[in-house]
């Protein structure tokens, strides 16, 4: 009713799209590029045939590496005509039950036999398959499916999928932030369209991208970054529309103190931070200039001979061309620096008001100084969330915040996650993920009271317990 041909488009895979490949619990983020080989789970795949198909389609990987939409044929289930046993008392695990050898199976694979058919062959050649219980048979088939079925699902990227991917593939890159913890962060920080959020993260851009997703292109996100430049590789994988990037700003933390003191000069050329970049640009420009000169070294004489003009005339033409090149490069450099200055000034203006709506910190840096430094940019009655892989730094933060005042509703939490296998008569918990997902400190800012000294009026925590002195103690 609400769908028509035009709406359809946003649900279909297009060339250039950033997508996520999925098989079982394995994810991989890639970009759809024509005739580009992509490696996934030890297989080479061409994604060309995916273009035009709906997202979340499952594809079969054909022997050439090309994709074909997978038809779900539950009909030829290998279990249809097989009897089952009642328990395993007579089943001996001697490794001789399967008659097909590894080579046999490889041969079948090479023949191009489909996963489903390989599994049927395995079942047919299994000596004791009929003795297994029905549940055991189903489990066996599931295991073989995982191994031999050659399918891949193509998904539209989302915070959920990318967070799971990073956690499974490269947890070190995201400070071991588990996806349920990330979910808590986004909600506790009240991330929503139209707000102004400050982010300090060293999670490859996953946290930044997740925040941008929840803001939908409305409002603004300011990434505070350490060092030379913001790291945001992960943001690309979200495949945001171009206009989302208009809401993304960045600000180097080395200028925070100057900004807070009101001494940040964003008009003139800033000697400190720009210097490093300028030097790099200079070197790059020089290199570029040197190379063409080196190349041209051999040719000036030829050129002048070929053009049939006098030697002098030829040399002159060349010189002005070289000058033009130099000028053009200097122009580009100048424009780039000016653009950078403009962006810095614009971001500083966003921050100067000290009226940000939210703060999210998730990095390998010690959270305490980061938090204390950036809290100053928030309006009163706004949430902040700090993630740390370890609990001790957050205990310190908690302590400091209590001392300084200006925050309420402080909570130090972590979440546990438990997955369940749900099957008739076979429902039970699977693994329990705890502790390893990191910790969160969250709270809300309040107006700072400058008249009275800081300190909580009601004991937000009970007084330190004193141990009862034993009689023998001195």
């Amino acid at each position: 009713m609400a769908d028509n041909g035009d709406d359809d488009n946003q649900y279909r895979i297009k060339e250039g799209d950033y997508v996520v490949l999925k098989r079982g619990e394995i994810f991989k983020a890639v970009q759809i590029q024509p005739r580009k080989k992509v490696i996934f789970e030890k297989q080479w795949i061409f994604l060309d045939n995916a273009v035009g198909q709906l997202y979340s389609t499952t594809f079969e990987i054909l022997s050439g590496g090309n994709l074909k939409p997978h038809e779900l044929k539950d009909s030829a289930s290998p279990l249809d005509a097989v009897e089952a046993g009642t328990d395993n008392r007579n089943i001996v695990d001697d490794g001789k039950s399967q008659k097909l050898t590894r080579d046999d199976i490889e041969a079948l694979k090479e023949k191009g036999l489909k996963g489903q058919d390989i599994i049927k062959k395995l079942v047919d050649n299994h000596a004791t398959f009929g003795d297994k219980t029905e549940y055991s048979q189903v489990k066996y088939i599931k295991k073989k499916k995982k191994k031999y079925e050659n399918t891949v699902m193509i998904l539209k990227p989302s915070c959920r999928i990318l967070a799971m991917m990073y956690h499974g593939r490269e947890p070190g890159k995201i400070c071991h932030l588990r996806y349920d913890t990330l979910a808590q962060m986004l909600t506790l920080a009240n991330i929503h369209a139209g707000s102004k959020v400050l982010v300090f993260e060293t999670c490859a851009g996953l946290v930044l991208g997740s925040i941008m997703e929840r803001m939908g292109g409305y409002g603004s996100v300011i990434q505070m970054y350490p060092g030379g430049g913001p790291v945001r590789a992960g943001v690309e994988s979200f495949g945001f529309p171009a206009h989302f990037h208009d809401t993304l700003h960045e600000f180097p933390i080395c200028h925070v103190n100057a900004l807070l003191a009101g001494t940040l000069d964003t008009s003139a050329k800033d000697p400190t931070a720009e210097n490093a970049d300028e030097k790099q640009l200079n070197l790059a420009a020089e290199k570029e200039q040197k190379q063409p000169e080196a190349e041209e070294q051999g040719t000036p004489e030829e050129e002048s001979m070929e053009t049939n003009t006098g030697d002098d005339a030829g040399q002159d033409v060349e010189k002005t061309e070289k000058d033009k090149l130099k000028e053009a490069k200097a122009q580009v450099k100048k424009l780039r620096l000016e653009e950078k200055q403009r962006r810095l000034a614009a971001t500083a203006a966003l921050l100067k008001g000290r009226n940000a709506d939210g703060l999210v910190i998730a990095s390998r840096f010690h959270p305490c100084p980061v938090l204390l430094g950036l809290l100053k940019f928030l309006s009163p009655s706004r949430p902040f969330v700090v993630y740390s892989q370890y609990i001790e730094p957050l205990v310190e933060c908690f302590k400091k915040l209590r001392e300084c005042g200006g925050t309420v509703n402080l909570r130090l939490t972590d979440t546990w996650m438990r997955h369940y296998q749900v099957l008739p008569d076979r429902t039970h918990p699977l693994l329990l993920m705890s502790g390893g997902g990191g910790y969160l400190l969250s709270g809300t800012t309040v107006a700072t009271d400058h008249s009275k000294p800081a300190g909580s009026k009601q004991a937000e925590e009970p007084a330190p317990k004193r141990q009862k002195l034993e009689d023998t103690e001195g």
Partner: protein, 288 residues
Amino acid sequence: MSFVEYSDFIQDGDVAILYLSHNNVMPVKVQQGAQTQTRYGVIRHSTDLIGQRYGSKVTCSKGWFHVLHPTPELWTVALPHRTQILYTTDIAFITMMLELKPGSIVCESGTGSGSLSHAILRTIAPTGHLHTVEFHQQRAEKVAEEFKEHRVDHLVTVRNQDVCKDGFGVTGVADAVFLDIPSPWDAVGHAKVAMKKHGGRLCSFSPCIEQVQKTCEALQDQGFEDISTTEVLLREHDVRTVSLPLPDFGPDPETTEEATPAAAPNHASITLKTTTLPREMPGHTGLG
């Protein structure tokens, strides 16, 4: 003020949150000339609230506290319960797993006390829409009233009907469907009808394992894929200062004038800041 947009100053007609202390928050409907009793004394809206900044301190006869801008998270702990509600931990997980974001069209049943509803509205604003179904008439009316007071009514449609019989009242529009009802397996078919034909996400929340089993079966039968069941538990750490006494083994004959440790001889203990956990493990709310 609205639950989907921040403002800086308290105005007549706003809903504000009084943060009295940890785990003690109170919602208040700001009205010119009105008064509210709190454990710290009386607050007069006209002088203490209207025109003040959100986040300011309010002083009463017996103490002081802060006034906060409402957020779905504060609402969840402050709202008057008409039913058992979903808390922030589960809400956060559900929000991510359903892939909610600005513009999402969501169907929800049962609305209950509106805890999750407010969180959904915050996330899908300004371009999304929530279709929420509640079979209890008074609850449906009450929650619709609250949506209006909270200035989010333009983003939501409340329907007073039985989702298991009559569905959500919409067809082929939802990106996500959420079920928190006694018999979710009876609503799966209706959920499918409400969802976009290109696909979408569904989540069902149930406290009992038998409900989960029946629902998973129904989902499988109706062609849903990628079915998973998860439970999320929150652990809150209590930050405290503890003092641990040091043992006295008597004077050490071998040491001469070594600097004594930080603790002076007659104050033999070390104080440190640490966390402790509650005696009981976090409570079970449900599986999603």
